[in-house]
C-alpha cells in the first residue's frame, strides 16, 4: 500500500473534549495503528470544554484517510481537519542553546536577525535563541547554528490555523 515516494508530511487539526485521558486516547490510536507522528501539540481553546490537538504525521494519502476516519471513531474527538500548506499558517517554536564565546556572539546575532529569532539569554560561553516559524525556516537556521555547536535544544510541535474566514468548529455533524 505504501509507496515511499508518495510519503509526505500532513498537518492535522483535531478538536477533542477537554477531559482526562483524551491525549492517551489519541496518541494510543497512533501507536497501535502504526501511524508515524512527527509532532503533537495540545492546548485548550477559547471554549474551555474543547482542546485542540495539532499533529504532524508522515504518510501517504491512504494513511491520512485512515487516520482521519480512525480519529472520528474516538468518542472524544469532535472534528478532524487536514490542513494544506497553501490554505493554512503553521508555526512551531524552538529554543536552542548554542556554544558562543565573545568572538562568535556577533555572527550568531546576525543570523538571528536574518531569521527573526530572538536572543533569550547570553552567558560567557553560550546563547539561547528562540525561533518561530514553519519547519523549513527552523531547519535552515538549525543547520547554520550547527556550525557553532548546538549544546541543547527543545521544540514544540507545530500548530496550524486555516487562513481566512473559515474555521474548525465542533458543529460538523448537524
Amino acid at each position: 500500500m505504501t509507496d515511499t515516494a508518495a510519503l509526505r508530511h500532513y498537518t492535522v487539526g483535531v478538536l477533542v473534549a477537554n477531559e482526562p485521558g483524551v491525549l492517551s486516547r489519541v496518541s494510543g490510536l497512533f501507536s497501535r495503528r502504526g501511524f508515524n507522528i512527527e509532532s503533537l501539540a495540545v492546548g485548550p481553546t477559547q471554549d474551555r470544554t474543547i482542546s485542540r490537538i495539532t499533529l504532524v504525521v508522515n504518510g501517504d494519502e491512504a494513511h491520512i484517510e485512515q487516520l482521519v476516519q480512525q480519529l472520528y471513531k474516538l468518542i472524544s474527538v469532535q472534528k478532524v481537519q487536514v490542513f494544506s500548506r497553501e490554505t493554512a499558517v503553521e508555526r512551531q517554536l524552538v529554543m536552542v542553546k548554542v556554544a558562543a564565546d565573545a568572538q562568535q556572539r556577533e555572527g550568531i546575532m546576525r543570523l538571528a536577525d536574518v531569521f527573526r529569532a530572538k536572543v533569550l539569554d547570553v552567558s560567557r560561553s553560550t546563547m539561547i535563541l528562540q525561533i518561530t516559524g514553519d519547519a523549513d525556516k527552523v531547519t535552515a537556521l538549525l543547520e547554520l547554528l550547527s556550525d557553532y555547536g548546538i549544546l541543547e535544544m527543545v521544540q514544540t510541535g507545530a500548530v496550524a490555523l486555516e487562513r481566512g474566514e473559515t474555521f474548525m468548529s465542533s458543529d460538523l455533524f448537524d
Partner: protein, 569 residues
C-alpha cells in the same frame, strides 16, 4: 429521590431493561452487589467461576439475543481478567457494557490493594470507556455507555466506578424511552441511530448519488458476487441481502461472522470465504467482476494475499464504519450507512438481472469433502445438524471451529456464536452459557470445542451445572492443539513443538466431578445416540469424541497466498 451510586447503577440497568447480568463480586464492588441483592427480583445475576468467562457470557448473550450484554467485576485482577473478553467483543463488534469497581479515589494512584488502571488498559479494545469521578455524573455516563455500545457499529464499553462514587448519594431521576438517548448522539458520526424522519430524508439526499452509481455498477456487471459479513446480522439486513442476491442474480459468499445470514440451504450460498473457505466461494471471488461487500471488514483471513484478491472485480463496499472503507481493500465505490437501510434504498434502484452462466459456474463447484476415516468431524457436525438443525452453536477456536464453519449448515442469523477476529481459545463455554441464559425457552445450546480450548474454560462447568444451562459440550478430542499441529505439519516440517496434549483430564470423570453427565464416544452411532439424548433432556452434559490426531482442516490456503491457491484440498 436520593440514591447511592450503587443503587443508581442498578436502577440504570433496569432503565435499560437489563434482565440478566454476569459477574463476580469483590471488595471494590461490594456496594453494587448489596444494591443488587435488594433488586434481585428485577435483575438476575449469573455468578461465574472466573471474570473472563462472565465477560464471554455477556458477549454470547448479546450475540444470541441482539441485546446489550452486561458484565460486572471488581477492581484490579477482577478487571484485568476481563481484558480478553473485552478485546474479543471489540473485534467482533459485540455490544457489551462492562462495569468494574475501583478503589476509592483517595487511594487512586498510590498502588493500593487491588488497584488497576483498567480504563487506561482497555482504551485500545473498547469503543469508549469511562472512569466515573462523581456520583452526579453516574446516571448520564451509564446511559451514554449503553447508547454507545449498541449504536452505529456496536462494541464494548467499560465503565469504571470507584468505590467512593458507589457509596456517595445524589438525586436520581428515572428516565425511559427517547429520554435515555444522550445528547452526544446528535454530534458524533460513529454513534448514530438508524435514521428516521427528517434525518432519514437528509441521509437519502446525501446518499443518492452513490446509490445511483452503485445501481449502475450492478447494471453493468456480468459476474456479480455478494460478500456477506457480520454487519448484515447486526443490522438485521438478511432479507434485504437475499432480495438483492435474487434481484441481481448473484451468488453469495460469507465471512465467518456472516454465516447464517443467508441459509446454507439456499443454492446461491457458496459458503465461507478465505483461508478455510470453500472452493466455490474462493474461486467465485477470484472470477467475479463486481464484488458487493456488505458489513465486512476484509479480514486478512478472508482476503489471503490482498494484492491478488478479486483481481478482476470492481468493489462496492457497504458498511456502517467509515474507517473500514479502503482500509484493507481499495474500493471502487462505497456507501456508508446501516446495511439494512442502504440495501433497502439500493433495491429500489436495481432492476432484475439474469446471469445464468455465471450462476452455473459459481454454484457448480460445490464439492464433497467427506474423508474416509470412520469417525470424523464432518460426520459429527452433520449428525448434530440432522438432529437439531436450528440449535444455537457456540465454538471455541481452532480446527473444530473451522470444521463447524465449513460443515454445519447454518440456517438462521445468530445461530453461530464464535470468536472470529480475536480468535480467543476459551471463549466457548462462557459464550454458550450466555446464549443459554438469553433464551427464556431453555432450548439447548451446543458447544463445539477442542480438548485444547476446553481446558482453558472448563472451570465454568460448575456454572452450567448450577444454573442448569442446557449446554451440550461436544469435545473434539484429538489429543493435540490441532490447528497449530496442522501448521507444524504443513509449514514446520512435522516438528510438533509443544502441541501434543498427552495428558489429562479424563473429561468423563471431570463431568462426574462437576455433577453432569459425561459420555465418551468413538463411533458415529454412539455419538448420534448421546447427542439425541442430550437434546431431549435439555441438561448440561459433555460428549467427548475421540478423533484422529492427524485430521486436518481442508480446504486450506496458506497465509499470504491468493485465495484460489489451495495448499490442501
Amino acid at each position: 429521590m436520593k440514591l447511592s451510586g450503587a443503587e443508581i447503577l442498578i436502577e440504570c440497568l433496569i432503565e435499560q431493561q437489563v434482565e440478566t447480568i454476569f459477574g463476580f463480586p469483590g471488595g471494590a464492588v461490594l456496594p453494587i452487589y448489596d444494591a443488587l441483592y435488594a433488586r434481585s427480583d428485577r435483575i438476575s445475576h449469573v455468578l461465574t467461576a472466573h471474570e473472563q468467562h462472565a465477560g464471554h457470557a455477556a458477549d454470547g448473550y448479546a450475540r444470541r439475543t441482539g441485546r446489550t450484554g452486561v458484565c460486572l467485576a471488581t477492581s484490579g485482577p477482577g478487571a484485568t481478567n476481563l481484558v480478553t473478553a473485552i478485546a474479543t467483543a471489540y473485534m467482533d463488534s459485540s455490544p457489551v457494557v462492562f462495569i468494574t469497581g475501583n478503589v476509592p479515589q483517595s487511594l487512586m494512584g498510590t498502588d493500593s490493594f487491588q488497584e488497576a488502571d483498567i480504563s487506561g488498559m482497555t482504551m485500545p479494545v473498547t469503543k469508549h470507556n469511562y472512569l466515573v469521578h462523581s456520583v452526579e455524573k453516574l446516571a448520564s455516563t451509564l446511559r451514554e455507555a449503553f447508547f454507545i455500545a449498541a449504536s452505529g457499529r456496536p462494541g464494548p464499553v467499560l465503565v469504571d466506578i470507584p468505590k467512593d462514587v458507589q457509596v456517595a448519594e445524589t438525586e436520581y431521576v428515572p428516565l425511559s424511552g427517547d429520554a435515555l438517548i444522550p445528547p452526544l448522539s446528535a454530534k458524533h458520526p460513529t454513534v448514530q441511530l438508524r435514521p428516521s424522519g427528517e434525518a432519514l430524508e437528509r441521509y437519502k439526499t446525501k446518499a443518492q448519488p452513490r446509490l445511483e452509481k452503485a445501481a449502475q455498477l450492478i447494471a453493468e456487471a456480468h459476474r456479480p458476487l455478494i460478500y456477506c459479513g457480520g454487519g448484515v446480522i447486526l443490522s438485521g439486513a438478511e432479507a434485504e441481502l437475499l432480495a438483492l442476491a435474487e434481484r441481481v442474480d448473484a451468488p453469495v459468499v460469507s465471512s465467518l461472522m456472516g454465516l447464517g445470514a443467508v441459509p446454507a440451504t439456499n443454492p446461491r450460498m457458496l459458503g465461507m470465504l478465505g483461508m478455510h473457505g470453500t472452493h466455490a466461494a474462493n474461486i467465485a471471488m477470484q472470477r467475479c467482476d463486481l464484488l458487493i461487500a456488505v458489513g465486512v471488514r476484509f479480514s486478512d483471513r478472508a482476503l489471503g494475499k490482498a494484492a491478488a484478491f478479486a483481481p478482476s472485480a470492481k468493489v462496492l463496499h457497504i458498511d456502517i464504519d467509515r474507517a473500514e472503507i479502503n482500509k484493507n481493500v481499495t474500493t471502487t465505490l462505497h456507501i456508508t450507512g446501516d446495511a439494512r437501510l442502504v440495501l433497502e434504498l439500493l433495491l429500489s434502484r436495481v432492476s432484475r438481472k439474469h446471469h445464468e452462466l455465471w450462476m452455473q459456474q459459481a454454484c457448480g463447484m460445490a464439492e464433497d469433502y467427506l474423508t474416509d476415516s470412520l469417525f470424523e468431524p464432518r460426520k459429527i457436525l452433520k449428525t448434530i445438524a440432522a438432529t437439531a438443525p436450528d440449535i444455537t452453536v457456540a465454538t471455541d477456536v481452532g480446527q473444530h471451529q473451522m470444521w463447524t464453519a465449513q460443515h454445519f449448515p447454518f440456517i438462521h442469523p445468530r445461530q453461530l456464536i464464535t470468536s472470529g477476529g480475536l480468535g480467543t481459545m476459551g471463549y466457548g463455554l462462557g459464550s454458550a452459557m450466555g446464549a443459554a441464559a438469553g433464551d427464556p425457552e431453555g432450548n439447548p445450546v451446543v458447544l463445539i470445542t477442542g480438548d485444547g480450548s476446553f481446558r482453558m474454560n472448563l472451570t465454568e462447568l460448575s456454572t452450567i451445572q448450577h444454573y442448569g444451562f442446557p449446554v451440550i459440550v461436544v469435545i473434539f478430542n484429538n489429543g493435540t492443539l490441532g490447528m497449530v499441529r496442522q501448521w507444524q505439519t504443513l509449514f514446520y516440517g512435522h516438528r510438533y513443538s509443544q502441541t501434543t496434549l498427552d495428558r489429562g483430564p479424563d473429561f468423563v470423570k471431570l463431568a462426574d466431578a462437576y455433577g453432569i453427565e459425561g459420555t465418551r464416544v468413538s463411533d458415529l452411532a454412539a455419538f448420534a445416540e448421546a447427542f439425541a439424548k442430550a437434546v431431549r433432556e435439555r441438561k448440561p452434559c459433555i460428549i467427548e469424541c475421540m478423533l484422529d490426531i492427524d485430521e486436518m482442516v481442508a480446504p486450506m490456503v496458506a497465509p499470504g497466498s491468493p485465495i484460489d491457491a489451495f495448499c490442501l484440498n
